[in-house]
C-alpha cells in the first residue's frame, strides 16, 4: 500500500473514530464528574441521545439572523472534522501536499473559532455578543502560547509537521521527559483548555451570564444548528486531547501501515483520549473558574513557559 492511499485510509479511520469517540468522551467526562460529586449522572451515552434529539427538532431562528446562523455551525463542524483528518491521532502518515503542519492546523482550528464567534454575534442579543467578545479575546491571547509551545516541540524534530514530531518522540523517548518538553506540554495544555472552553478559563456547565463564554454564543441556536455547534466543540476537544496524548505517550500510533497496526492504533488512541478525558474531569473537580480579567495573567504565564521552552531548546540543546 503506498503512502497516499494509506494516508487516506488513516484519515478516514480517524474521522469515523472521532465522530464516534467525541460524544462518548463528553459522556465520560460528565459522568466521572457526576460520580465524584456524588450525583448519579446521566450515563456516558447521554451526549449521543442529546444529539439525536436536537437533530430531530425544528430549529428556531430570529427574524434578523442571517445565513451565518446556518453556515456557522457547519463551518465549525467541518473545521473540527478537518482537525481529525490532519492531526496525527491514529497514525503519523500525512498527506504529501497537505501535511499535518502546525500552522495549518491552528488556522483550521481558527476557522471554527471565527464561525462560533460570528454565530454568537448573529443573534443580535447582548448575550451572544458578550460571549463572542470574550471568546475572541481569549482566542487572541491564547494564540502565542499555542504556536510557541508547538514550536518548542518542533525544534528537536526540525520541522513543524506534527506527525514527524510525534514520530521523533516515538524514536527517542528521552525527549518526552526533557525539561523543555515538560514546559512546553504544560503551556500547550493551558492553551488547549482555553481553546476548548474548559476550566479554569470557562465553566462548561454553567449558564450564568457573568461567567459563561462558550455557552453564551450558542444561546440563540437550536435544533440542528445547536447540534452542529455541540458536535464541533466536542470533536475539537477530542482531537486536541488526542494530540496531547500522542505527544506524551506516542506509543501505539501507526507509522508503517498494516491492518494490525491500524487496529492497535485505533484502540490505543481511544484509550488514551478517554483516559485523558477522565484525568481532565478529575482535574476540573479541583479547579474553580478564574475571573475573566485574570485569564490574561494565566495565559501570560503559559506564554512565558512556552517561550522559555523554545529558547531553552535552542540554547541548551
Amino acid at each position: 500500500m503506498n503512502a497516499a492511499s494509506s494516508a487516506i485510509v488513516i484519515a478516514l479511520v480517524q474521522v469515523v473514530l472521532f465522530v464516534f469517540l467525541a460524544p462518548l468522551l463528553m459522556g465520560v467526562i460528565r459522568q466521572v464528574r457526576a460520580t465524584i460529586e456524588g450525583r448519579a449522572g446521566s450515563g456516558i451515552w447521554q451526549p449521543w441521545r442529546d444529539l439525536r434529539k436536537l437533530l430531530a427538532k425544528n430549529p428556531v431562528r430570529g427574524i434578523d439572523s442571517s445565513w451565518m446562523l446556518r453556515v456557522g455551525p457547519v463551518a465549525l463542524v467541518v473545521s473540527s472534522l478537518l482537525l481529525c483528518v490532519l492531526l496525527p491521532l491514529v497514525g503519523t502518515i500525512p498527506f504529501a501536499l497537505i501535511p499535518s503542519d502546525l500552522f495549518v492546523i491552528v488556522s483550521v482550528m481558527l476557522i471554527g473559532v471565527v464561525a462560533l464567534a460570528l454565530v454568537g454575534l448573529d443573534g443580535g442579543t447582548a448575550f451572544g455578543g458578550m460571549g463572542s467578545s470574550r471568546h475572541m479575546t481569549v482566542a487572541a491571547l491564547v494564540e502565542p502560547t499555542l504556536l510557541l509551545s508547538v514550536y518548542a516541540f518542533s525544534i528537536p524534530a526540525g520541522t513543524s509537521t506534527l506527525s514527524v514530531i510525534v514520530e521523533t518522540r516515538l524514536l527517542s523517548p528521552e525527549l518526552i521527559i526533557s525539561p523543555v518538553s515538560v514546559l512546553a506540554l504544560v503551556a500547550l495544555s493551558i492553551a488547549i483548555m482555553a481553546e476548548t472552553a474548559r476550566l479554569p478559563i470557562d465553566n462548561p456547565g454553567t449558564h450564568l451570564e457573568v461567567t459563561m463564554l462558550h455557552e453564551a454564543m450558542t444561546l440563540e441556536a437550536s435544533g440542528r444548528d445547536l447540534a452542529w455547534l455541540e458536535v464541533g466543540s466536542w470533536l475539537k476537544l477530542a482531537a486536541l486531547l488526542g494530540l496531547v496524548s500522542n505527544l506524551v505517550v506516542p506509543w501505539g500510533v501507526v507509522t508503517d501501515f498494516s491492518a494490525l497496526g491500524l487496529a492497535i492504533g485505533i484502540v490505543s488512541i481511544a484509550v488514551k483520549v478517554l483516559v485523558l478525558g477522565v484525568l481532565l474531569s478529575v482535574g476540573e473537580i479541583f479547579l474553580a473558574k478564574v475571573r475573566l480579567f485574570q485569564v490574561p495573567e494565566l495565559l501570560a504565564g503559559s506564554f512565558a513557559l512556552a517561550f522559555l521552552a523554545v529558547t531553552a531548546s535552542y540554547l541548551v540543546a
Binding site: A11, V15, L55, A56, K57, N58, V60, R61, G62, I63, S65, W67, M68, V74, V78, L81, V85, L97, I98, P99, D101, F103, V104, V113, V114, A117, L118, L121, G123, G124, T125, A126, F127, G129, S132, S133, R134, M136, T137, A140, L141, V142, E143, P144, L147, L148, Y151, I155, G158, S160, L219, E220, G223, R224, L292, F293, F307, T311, Y314, L315
Partner: protein
C-alpha cells in the same frame, strides 16, 4: 523605443489626457470619463508591470536641465512586481470610483489629482535613479494630498488630516532625500547602479540605512511614524483610502526592499534586527489599536500599520538570517514578506472599498451605529467577508499563505543543519513568532468584530436599517477584489514562484509550485496546497450536508419575530453588543498600553443618594504615541513660535544691532 518604454509613455500620455478631461468635462460626465481613463492608466501599468516582472527590459528617459545622472524609468523585475500591485489596486479603485464618487469627491480637483496620483505611484517602482525616484515619489504625495482634501468643505477634520499628512509625508521625503544624498556623496552619482557600489558596512551605508528606514517606514505606516494613518485614511474618500492603503503604502515597502535588497544588500546583522524591531512593534501596536477601534475606517487604517509591520518583520528576519547564511529561510522570509504585500494590496483595498460601500449606503462609518447589513447588501457583505478572512489570515485566503510562509521561515531560521545559528537569531525568531501569533489572534478578533458588528445581527440605527446595495460598478470591483483574495490564496504556488524571481538569484531553490497550485519551500521542507485543503473540507462536509438536507426535509425551520435573548422579550437593537463593548475586555487587558481615559458620571435619584437614576460612562481612546510623543514636541514648537516673535519686534535699532554685531563678528574673524 521598447515595449516598457512605450507603456510608460502611454501612461504619462493617458495621465495628461485624464487631467485635461477632468478640467473640461461636464460635471455629469466627469466621473465616468475620469474613471475610464484612470482604469486605462491602471491597465497600462498592469501590462507594463507584468512585462517587467516577466523579465522584459527597456525604459523611458526623462530630459532634465540640471547636470545629473540621466533620469531613467526602467523597472526591473521587483519594480515590475510593485507596478503590478499598484496598478491592480488602481484598476479596482478606478472602476469603483466611476460610480462611487459624488459631490466633492467628484470635483474637478479630485479628478485631476486621481490620474496624477495613479501615475506617480506607478513611476516610483520604475525609477532607476534617485532623482526620478524622488520625482515620482513627490508626484504621488502631491496627488494623494489633493485627493485627501477633496471633501474639505464638509468636515473640519479633513484640514487637520491634510496638515498631518503633508508634514509626515515631507518628513519621509526628507529622510529619503538625505539617504540618497549620503549614498550619492560617497558613490559620486545618483543612479542606482552607482549607489550599488557602496560598501555595505561603511559608515555612509549605515547612516543611509537609518535614514531610509525612517523615510520608507513613515510611508509604510510603521510605528512611530504612523500618526498620520488614523487621521488620513478615514478622512479621505474611500476609494482614495483604498488606493493609499492598498497601493501607496506598498511603495514604502518597495523602498524598503530597494534599500535592503537592491542598493545595500548584505548589510550588517543589526540592520535586520532594527527592521524586525520596528516591524514587530508596528504589527502589535497597529493591531491593538485596530482591535479597540469602533470606527470602521480607523480600524482598517490601523490594521494597515499591522500588516506593514509584518511585512517589515519578514524583511528584517530575512536580512538577519542572510547575515548568518541561513539562505533558504532567508529567501522564504523575503518571499513571504512580498506575498504579504501582494495579498495585503488585494484584501485591504477590498476592505476599504467595502467600507466605502457601507458609507455610500448608510453615511455611517461608526460601527456602533451599523448592523444587519449582511442581508441588505449581500455582495458587499460577501466581498468584505472574504477580505476580512484574508486580513485575519484564515485559510484559504492570500493572507493565510503569506503568514504561513513567514512562520515557516522563522521557525526554520533558528537552526542551520541542526546547529544553532546564533544567539541573536534564536532569541529573535521565537519573539517574532510570538509577535506574529499575538498579532494574528488580535487580527482575528478585529475582523470578527468589524464584520460581525457591521454586517450581522440587527441594525443599530435607522440609516443602517434603510441601507440598500450599492451600484453595479462598485459591486463589480468589490467582487473582483474578493476574487483576487481567494485566487491568491488558492494558487499561491505560481504566485510565489513568480514573486521569488524578483528577489532571489536562484528562485527555484527558494520556492516551487507543487500540486494544484500549492507552494513548496524546498530549502525548508515545508509544503502547503490550499486546494487540497479545500478538497478535504469538501469531502468531510459532504456527510454533514447530507445530514442537514435530510434533517431539513423532515424538520423545516421556524422563524420567530425576536431572538430569544436569554428569555427577555423586549430585546431591542440598542441592547446588542456594540463594537465598543466588543473590545471592552481587550481595553482592560491592555490598559497600560492603550491608556484609555474614562469618565463615569452617576446621577442619583433626588430622594435618595443610594439610588441611582442614571450612569453615564464615557471612554475615549487616543493614539498613545501621538499624545505622548508628538503632542509635547508640537506644543514646544508652538510656545517657541510665540517667544521668538520678539526677534522681529519692529525696533529698527534692534535690527541695526543685528547687522552691527554681524559686521563686528566678520571683522574679528577676518583679523584672526
Amino acid at each position: 523605443m521598447t515595449g516598457i518604454g512605450a507603456g510608460l509613455l502611454l501612461q504619462l500620455g493617458l495621465g495628461a489626457l485624464a487631467v485635461v478631461t477632468a478640467l473640461v468635462a461636464a460635471p455629469s460626465l466627469r466621473s465616468r470619463a475620469g474613471g475610464i481613463l484612470s482604469t486605462l492608466i491602471a491597465v497600462t501599468g498592469f501590462v507594463t508591470g507584468l512585462a517587467a516582472l516577466l523579465g522584459a527590459t527597456g525604459g523611458l528617459l526623462i530630459p532634465i536641465a540640471l547636470p545629473m545622472d540621466p533620469l531613467l524609468l526602467a523597472p526591473d523585475r521587483l519594480g515590475g512586481l510593485f507596478m503590478l500591485i499598484v496598478s491592480g489596486v488602481g484598476i479596482l479603485v478606478s472602476l469603483y470610483s466611476m460610480s462611487s464618487t459624488r459631490g466633492p469627491d467628484a470635483s474637478r480637483t479630485a479628478w485631476v489629482a486621481m490620474p496624477v496620483f495613479l501615475v506617480g505611484m506607478q513611476l516610483v517602482p520604475a525609477a532607476t535613479d534617485s532623482v526620478s525616484f524622488l520625482l515620482a515619489w513627490e508626484i504621488m504625495t502631491l496627488g494623494s494630498t489633493v485627493l485627501l482634501l477633496a471633501d474639505h468643505a464638509s468636515r473640519a477634520t479633513v484640514a487637520s488630516a491634510g496638515i498631518w499628512y503633508s508634514a509626515m509625508s515631507q518628513l519621509s521625503f526628507f529622510f529619503i532625500l538625505a539617504g540618497f544624498a549620503v549614498l550619492a556623496a560617497v558613490s559620486g552619482g545618483t543612479s542606482f547602479a552607482n549607489l550599488q557600489a557602496i560598501e555595505p558596512g561603511s559608515w555612509a551605508a549605515n547612516v543611509a540605512f537609518v535614514l531610509f528606514l525612517l523615510g520608507f517606514g513613515g510611508k509604510a505606516e510603521l510605528v512611530p511614524l504612523h500618526v498620520w494613518v488614523p487621521r488620513v485614511l478615514p478622512e479621505a474618500p474611500s476609494h482614495v483610502s483604498a488606493a493609499m492603503s492598498g497601493a501607496m503604502v506598498k511603495i514604502g515597502v518597495y523602498g524598503g526592499l530597494l534599500v535592503c535588497v537592491r542598493l545595500l544588500p548584505d548589510g550588517p546583522v543589526w540592520w535586520g534586527i532594527a527592521i524586525m524591531l520596528v516591524g514587530g512593534a508596528s504589527a502589535l501596536y497597529g493591531i491593538l489599536q485596530a482591535s479597540v477601534s469602533s470606527d470602521l475606517k480607523v480600524l482598517l487604517a490601523y490594521s494597515t500599520t499591522e500588516n506593514m509591520g509584518l511585512v517589515f518583520l519578514g524583511l528584517g528576519a530575512s536580512m538577519l538570517l542572510r547575515g548568518y547564511d541561513a539562505t533558504a529561510a532567508a529567501d522564504a522570509a523575503l518571499v513571504a514578506a512580498l506575498l504579504l504585500a501582494v495579498s495585503h494590496a488585494a484584501f485591504k483595498s477590498t476592505l476599504f472599498l467595502g467600507a466605502g460601500a457601507v458609507i455610500h449606503a448608510t453615511g455611517e462609518r461608526n460601527l456602533d451605529r451599523l448592523g444587519g447589513l449582511g442581508v441588505r447588501m449581500p455582495v458587499t457583505a460577501a466581498a468584505f467577508g472574504v477580505a476580512s478572512l484574508g486580513a485575519a489570515a484564515i485559510p484559504v485566503t492570500s493572507g493565510f499563505v503569506a503568514e504561513w510562509m513567514l512562520l515557516q521561515s522563522l521557525i526554520h531560521g533558528g537552526r542551520l543543519d541542526g546547529a544553532v545559528v546564533s544567539v541573536a537569531a534564536s532569541v529573535a525568531m521565537p519573539l517574532a513568532v510570538a509577535v506574529i501569533a499575538l498579532t494574528a489572534g488580535l487580527a482575528l478578533l478585529t475582523f470578527v468584530k468589524a464584520y460581525g458588528i457591521a454586517f450581522l445581527a440587527r441594525p443599530r440605527s435607522t440609516a443602517a436599517a434603510n441601507a440598500r446595495e450599492v451600484p453595479a460598478l462598485m459591486r463589480i470591483s468589490l467582487a473582483l477584489g474578493a476574487l483576487a483574495v481567494l485566487a491568491l490564496g488558492l494558487l499561491p504556488g505560481p504566485v510565489a514562484a513568480l514573486v521569488a524571481t524578483t528577489v532571489s538569484p536562484d528562485p527555484t531553490a527558494a520556492v516551487q509550485s507543487v500540486g494544484l497550485g500549492g507552494v513548496s519551500l524546498p530549502g525548508i521542507g515545508a509544503v502547503l496546497d490550499p486546494i487540497m485543503l479545500v478538497v478535504l473540507s469538501a469531502l468531510v462536509a459532504i456527510p454533514v450536508l447530507v445530514a442537514i438536507i435530510v434533517s431539513a426535509r423532515r424538520h423545516p425551520h421556524r422563524t420567530v419575530d425576536l431572538p430569544w435573548g436569554g428569555g427577555g422579550s423586549r430585546a431591542r437593537p440598542r441592547m446588542q453588543y456594540t463594537a465598543t463593548s466588543y473590545a471592552e475586555p481587550l481595553v482592560r487587558v491592555f490598559d497600560d498600553v492603550l491608556k484609555p481615559s474614562r469618565d463615569v458620571q452617576v446621577t442619583h435619584v433626588a430622594e435618595s443618594r443610594y439610588l441611582v437614576e442614571r450612569v453615564r460612562v464615557e471612554q475615549s481612546l487616543s493614539d498613545v504615541i501621538e499624545t505622548r510623543l508628538y503632542r509635547p514636541v508640537l506644543n514646544l514648537f508652538q510656545r517657541y513660535g510665540l517667544v521668538v516673535r520678539h526677534v522681529a519686534n519692529g525696533s529698527i535699532h534692534r535690527y541695526l544691532s543685528y547687522s552691527f554685531v554681524a559686521l563686528l563678528i566678520v571683522l574679528i574673524v577676518v583679523s584672526l
